[in-house]
């Protein structure tokens, strides 16, 4: 029973039972530290994901780029359903998401955003569907999850101005992320380095919550581990070995 193939088979079976990425691909971040914590090794397509910032505008801005980074590494059109009009397209482009790929839907209200999302999710072949809402119910999350599972399109609900201690309602989303800004490295010159985020995976079906300090998206939407931290796991292992 120690045979790796058996283990892999069992894992796949459990994943199928849990309905996680049973039929669809995953979108890896390309950062092992993150991908290894996610079942399937990345963001599951054909599933609903929840992303939140905080009431601070800068945190919502970070979450926006985190999301844009995920979508930048896909192919095909993206539908971005909005309630607010504060999304600034040039920044998406800087994260690698080309403006020609993004179709904005100004739906006007939470209900309409969710309606628009569901409609989009019925169309296979989209790279992703994003909906910005302030509140949404468990029922709505179930509907979106079902629609996403049927079409294989990844769905992202972006909960705007979402407080950290806000009692999270039950949700059918496969993952729930919270992105907040984190102090970046001081370059010692009057200039700014690559932004850093505190990316916390608050909930993941078939996995454990975790958080990372990560460096923000580059021009192709890739996130990275900060250079100072890359070596840390090795150091820890050394310490463990010593002990």
């Amino acid at each position: 029973m120690r045979h790796p193939a058996v283990l892999a088979d069992l894992r796949a079976k459990i994943a199928r039972i849990e309905g996680v990425c049973a039929r669809h691909d995953v979108l890896p971040f390309g950062v092992d530290a993150v991908d290894s914590r996610l079942p399937g090794g990345g963001i599951a397509t054909g599933a609903l994901h929840e992303i939140a910032g905080s009431p601070e505008l800068a945190d919502d801005a970070s979450a926006t780029i985190f999301l844009a980074g995920i979508l930048a590494r896909t192919e095909g059109p993206v539908f971005w359903c909005l309630r607010w009009r504060d999304l600034f397209a040039p920044a998406l482009h800087l994260a690698g998401l080309h403006p020609d790929r993004v179709i904005h839907v100004e739906a006007g209200s939470d209900t309409n955003v969710l309606l628009a999302m569901e409609e989009c999710l019925r169309h296979p072949g989209l790279a992703g569907v994003v909906g910005e809402v302030s509140k949404y119910s468990t029922t709505a999350s179930k509907r979106l999850q079902l629609a996403a599972e049927t079409s294989g399109v990844p769905a992202f609900v972006f909960r705007r101005t979402c407080k950290a201690d806000q009692a999270a309602e039950g949700t059918a989303a496969v993952t729930r992320w919270r992105i907040t800004a984190s102090p970046s490295e001081d370059l010692g010159i009057p200039s700014l380095g690559r932004p850093r985020w505190r990316v916390s995976l608050e909930r993941v079906r078939g996995g454990n919550p975790h958080f990372w300090i990560l460096e923000g998206c580059d021009a192709t939407g890739r996130i990275a581990l900060p250079a100072a931290l890359v070596d840390r796991p090795v150091a820890q292992e050394d310490r463990q070995a010593a002990a």
Binding site: E56, L57, A58, D59, D60, A61, S62, T64, I65, F66, A68, G76, P77, F79, R85, D86, L87, F88, A89, P90, A91, H93, L94, A95, H98, P99, D100, V102, I103, H104, V105, E106, A107, G108, N112, L115, A116, E119, C120, H123, P124, G125, L126, T180, A181, S182, P183, S184, D186, L187, P190, S191, L192, P195, R196, W197, R198, G216, C217, A219
Partner: protein, 500 residues
């Protein structure tokens, strides 16, 4: 509902002399229509030409051509039908009915729709008066007896009050009846409201109260819409009236198949579809859907229409339905079309865009493209979602925030040096301590513009700074003015957005 009166001038040029048109009537000629100058002289339709000449001996008299006038009216109606509302009808001799219920979405507000209609119709060289009211009768009366010169809107529910103040003539009664009522002391509509109906009906017949009830909305007054000819059209009549959404959806499916067949024979695709529901009481309701690209896929068309069924009031039932494609464009058959659609894996974008656009409005669906604009808020333009992309993007060099405030908000700032990034700023009552900063990026205002910020300070200059706060949040602040010339700005600080 709205009523518009247009009086076409028989000749194109502006007549210097007063002009009237004449029609024969019992062996004499009477005035049919007058222009502004003739009206100013006191000449009114219905006068004899001889009498009119007494007012203005130099009067130009042209024979009226009622048939040509009606044809002109019909053409105007079709134009308005294509642009404003699916339910339009000419109202001879000089009026036009438009049922604009639920049609304002394209223009964002009803006011904007009216303004557009007024402006465009006036540009045709027509004198017009627009009135909007709950009932056709009220709109008819207000358009003719409230010469405001601009569109008049009678607010919902106020038609009763509006009618009460109007003269009896406004009720569309035969002139003899109006005269007789006047002799009895009835001058205005409000006097009729309280008057006992029996004696009046005995003297004037049922017409009087029918018109009164129509104006007040207690009797329905359907508008029978006209359609452009030679366009794909299909109709289904029912033995029994239908009233359920499921039944409508079924019929819409049948109609869509018929119209798709017709479109296929023409080699065209529909850009717009109007579906008319004929109610048993004679009312006609309509739903209109548009498509982003010509299409004749019956399933897609039926789906677009079915999404709007809920706007239909079936009342006692619908006895017939008509589907018209008023806007069609060439949709060529492509070689191997069916094969391609079978093997194609990509999403059916036009179908999705249409569905969303018909639900949330054509304007709410867009892509963004770069625009040459000095200020960041003007660097983004929107373009229809299905426009062929040209790959243009913004500069990769300049940092731009992912969340942008609609209007820059003033912040209080402490900076060590005037040209330095601030060390602390207060925004929305919260204090942010800045740890690092980058800047400035100087943007010069578009001095040639009249509106916006440059309207007041044409030489305005903004110095943008990226700052990072203690918590790591990055914000985009700017200072108005270059710090040397007062004309470039007030040196006040604003916040404009937040970075990742």
């Amino acid at each position: 509902m709205r009523r518009k009166t247009g009086k076409p001038r028989p000749d194109g040029g502006a007549p210097a002399r007063p002009l009237v048109t004449a029609i024969p009537d019992h062996g004499r000629r009477i005035v049919a229509a007058v222009d502004g100058e003739a009206r100013a002289l006191g000449i009114r339709p219905g006068m004899t030409i001889t009498k009119a000449r007494a007012f203005a001996p130099e009067l130009d008299v042209v024979d009226a051509e009622p048939d040509a006038d009606f044809e002109g009216l019909r053409r105007l109606a079709l134009w308005a039908g294509a642009r404003y509302s699916p339910v339009v009808a000419p109202d001879p001799p000089d009026g036009l009915w438009l049922d604009i219920t639920g049609c304002a979405a394209r223009f964002s507000t009803e006011r904007a729709l009216l303004k557009d209609l007024h402006r465009r119709t006036a540009a045709f060289g027509l004198a017009l008066q627009i009135a909007v009211a709950d009932t056709a009768g009220c709109a008819h009366a207000v358009a003719r007896y409230v010469p405001a010169g601009r569109p008049v809107t009678i607010e919902p529910g106020a038609h009763r009050k509006a009618m009460a103040l109007l003269p009896i003539r406004a009720l569309r009664l035969p002139p003899a009846d109006v005269e007789a009522l006047r002799k009895l002391g009835f001058e205005r509509v409000e006097q009729l409201i309280g008057a006992p109906r029996g004696p009046l009906a005995k003297r004037f017949g049922r017409e009087l109260h029918r018109r009164l009830d129509q104006a007040f909305g207690t009797l329905p007054e359907p508008i029978e819409p006209i359609f452009p000819e030679q366009l794909p059209r299909t109709r289904r009549g029912f033995m029994e009236p239908i009233a359920t959404a499921e039944a409508f959806a079924q019929v819409i499916g049948d109609l869509a198949r018929d119209i798709a067949d017709q479109l296929g024979r023409l080699g065209k695709g529909a850009r717009r579809l109007d579906c008319y529901f004929h109610r048993v009481d004679g009312q006609v309701q309509a739903i209109r859907v548009g498509t982003a690209a010509p299409t004749r896929d019956p399933k897609h068309l039926a789906k677009l229409l079915a999404a709007k069924i809920e706007t239909i009031e079936p009342g006692l039932g619908i006895e017939a339905m008509t589907l018209v494609a008023p806007l069609i464009e060439v949709q060529a058959l492509r070689q191997g079309e069916s094969l391609e659609s079978l093997t194609r894996r990509g999403p059916d974008l036009p179908a999705l865009v249409d569905t969303l656009a018909n639900r949330f409005g054509q304007r709410s669906l867009h892509r963004t493209v770069p625009r040459a604009g000095a200020m960041p808020e003007r660097s983004v333009a929107i373009t229809p979602a299905l426009r062929q992309p040209d790959g243009a993007t913004w500069s990769d060099e300049l940092p731009r925030p992912s969340r942008m405030l609609a209007r820059p908000e003033p912040v209080d700032v402490i900076a060590l040096l005037p040209d330095d990034a601030p060390r602390l700023f207060v925004w929305r009552g919260k204090r942010y301590r800045v740890t690092q900063g980058d800047g400035p990026e100087r943007l010069q205002g578009e001095w040639w513009r009249d509106g916006g910020i440059e309207g007041e300070t044409p030489l305005s200059v903004r110095d943008y700074y990226q700052v990072e706060t203690e918590a790591g949040g990055r914000y985009w602040l700017f200072r108005l003015g270059d710090g040397v010339h007062a004309a470039t700005g007030s040196m006040r600080w604003f916040i404009h957005g937040a970075f990742a």
